[in-house]
Symmetry: C2
Subunit: 115 residues, 2 copies
DNA sequence: TGCACACATGGCAAAATAACCCTATATATA
DNA sequence: TATATATAGGGTTATTTTGCCATGTGTGCA
């Protein structure tokens, strides 16, 4: 322990809150799920559309979408034989530009090293 | 496969991009790391401050911070015996309000079920 | 010079995740 | 009603992540 004044431990309530937040973010932390979320920014899509586009088993795609639904990021609606998914809280899309900023900052650093 | 017109598979380049994005988001997808990132919004902190606050081994805290650094989210600076961490791309903080919105949306739904 | 502190890192075991295959369910359609 | 289609969910295995311990490194101080 270091000799510091202002100590502020993580309370029990905070632990629960941050676990919940991490759970939402974790749902976005997968290439396929991230891609699907960004596609949903353009409007709803059914599972089979994703299954065609993504190079993965149908059941894998279905499970990814289920995970996003459980996290509260998307919602689904069954119409006929198909199930359509759409963004429930569209603000998640806005975050992507920041993620890109992180990557660009990294890239800039990397290229600076080569000089 | 369903009978749909507009099919747009994930290109190889997109796979790389989304893997990179997911890597950044994954760095945030942990309760302890998330908590540390939010604390850093108030200014830099040294590792030992976190170690005092977080209920985990010192080495665990150090590894979490290393992971955030490798993801390009924080940067560190050694001053004397201590290493100080600070946010490198502060926009990540703005995302938190959206994550909270997701959780509130979920909570609202849950309580609606009880009526 | 030697010691104590602040961190980082390698190794390891447990836990969580991911992706496949297979089966079950619901809905349109013949 | 039988059948094909669209999707969900269980089971299993491989991979990744997590967190602790032990150890190594650098820095200030006695």
């Amino acid at each position: 322990m270091c000799a510091y004044v202002e100590m502020r431990g993580m309370t029990e309530k905070e632990k629960l809150i941050y676990a919940a937040k991490a759970r939402v973010i974790k749902a976005l932390a997968h290439p396929t799920r991230l891609w699907m979320v960004e596609r949903l920014a353009d409007g709803e899509r059914c599972v089979c559309e994703f299954a065609d586009d993504v190079d993965a088993d149908f059941s894998t795609v279905s499970k990814h979408l289920a995970l996003l639904r459980q996290a509260g990021i998307v919602e689904d609606e069954k119409r006929g034989k198909q199930v359509f998914y759409r963004l429930k809280v569209p603000c998640v899309i806005k975050f992507m530009s920041c993620v890109e900023a992180v990557i660009e900052s990294q890239a800039k650093e990397q290229s600076a090293l080569l000089k």
